[in-house]
Amino acid sequence: MNQIVGFTTTIPVEVVFAGGYVPCDLNNIFIVDENPLRFIERAERDGFPKSMCNWVKGIYGVVMEKNISRVITVMEGDCSNTQALAEILRYKGIQTIPFSYPYDRDREVLKREIEKLIDHLSVDKAKLSPVEERIEKVRTNLALIDRMTWDEKVVTGHENHLWLVRSSDMLGDYERYEDMSKDFIDSIKERNRIQGVSIGYIGVPPIVTDLYDFIESVGANVVYNETQRQFALPYFEKDIVERYLMYTYPYGIFSRLIDINEEIERRSIQGIIHYVQAFCFRAIEDVILRETLKVPVITIEGDLPKKLDTRTKLRIEAFVEMLREKGNGEN
């Protein structure tokens, strides 16, 4: 257990692996649990308010319930609640290692942050390059899975989501993850092409559990998972600082918009589902997205790790009907 290093969002995972640790994305541990609500309940028992993001409460609950002793907390470039989360974890005796993505995308500041992380984890720099080389192979496979989602259309939106979102920690073992991804690619080559309306999913990964299945059930398929794809670092830069400078997610809405618009075009996306988490500051960014994107946008909000509510289902189904008519040239 001592070798586990938890983290609150994607960090330069190469550094953690090179230090001989097992990286662990706390979000993933929370959401794949058989009963994720227990982590939220733990946080609320410890005094977290009802009216706040349940991802944050889930992360806290995971750390406490699973006795994780060391957590990298991303103070800038992710969630506005992380500072308070880091403080309470520290107060509870957990070692917290702050990491920040500079909002202004300053190369020197990011370089310094990565160096600080290397120092914190006492990483032998000589071990970093071989790890980076091997991880590049994993990311190459993930990029192929992503391409097979929108180009060959043999990967479902849900599969795409899972492969890319898990890349933040590679399930704690990048060599095994590479083998798993290769096996997956080999297993899907003979699949039939997926039909239906092409949807782009933007925003943080969903807390609701059946979104992708529902989208597929009404005749659409997600061909782009914005943030999850970013977690998989689709930029093959040799330099670690450059790689994490190109990563769009932490650097605000305008850096994300460039990526989203490019992918809408490249993937022939017919409509966008913008997911926002209840009580998240990112709901404000929705205004800019809706006014900027060139395809129809529907915004859905999730709160708890449960199935979609009926009204959200209706909205998604009507959205897909609308896009289908439009795609048929009837609009």
Binding site: R315, F319, E330
Partner: protein
Amino acid sequence: MLVAGIDIGSITTEALLFDKEKGILGYTILQTGADSKKTAEIALEKVLADPAKNASDVSYIISTGCGRKRAAFAKEAITEITCIAKGVNYLFPEARTIIDIGGQDTKVIRVNERGRVVEFEMNDKCAAGTGRFIEVMARALNVELDKIGEISLSHKKDLTISSICTVFAESEVISLVSEGEELEDILYGIHRAIADRTMGLINRLGGVQKDVIMAGGVAKNIGVVKALEKVMDTSLKIYVEPQIVGALGAAILALEKVS
């Protein structure tokens, strides 16, 4: 050629029979109740009995509304957003904005000249600002539901109900009563709150585009209609029976399927 549409809503269920040549042949409106499947069957039976037809005479049936998947006799289920747009387009071809306020949903739909949905907005998870909201307020004020619209028209004050959450608004309304505010002023405040919330949805679609049509059961509440017209600064067009628009759209879509 005969087709039918059935709209199984949270509060009422409407069945409508439509003929390619003659248009609307008849319709029926029932309270949905606890067994929406059964109600849908009864509604269809009633509407068929009215012009003395058999189910076998009907070429295609489409269901819509929140209970749309409960109608086993329907050949297809289509969301009420698509159906309302189609129904309104049949009645008002010049419609570009539709406001539909039903039992638990408020929808604003931007529609083109062919009755296709271009964009839409809808209330999110809670039923604030919908028919249910009005029902709760009417109960809190001990006023009959079908009277509150008329009563609110004689308001003298522009009272504001600042909470739109049904539970909080109910407390606020009770406080206003205990402070001695007049019934008509409170009712106006309630209708104004609904209108403001609906205007928020309209603004998310880029503002009012004429003609604006109102549908759904709440269109029968003159207080809400007037409050909406005031905040939008334009008049609303309303079909004589605004509750059947979804079922009508379903029937027209059914006709398109078989034509």
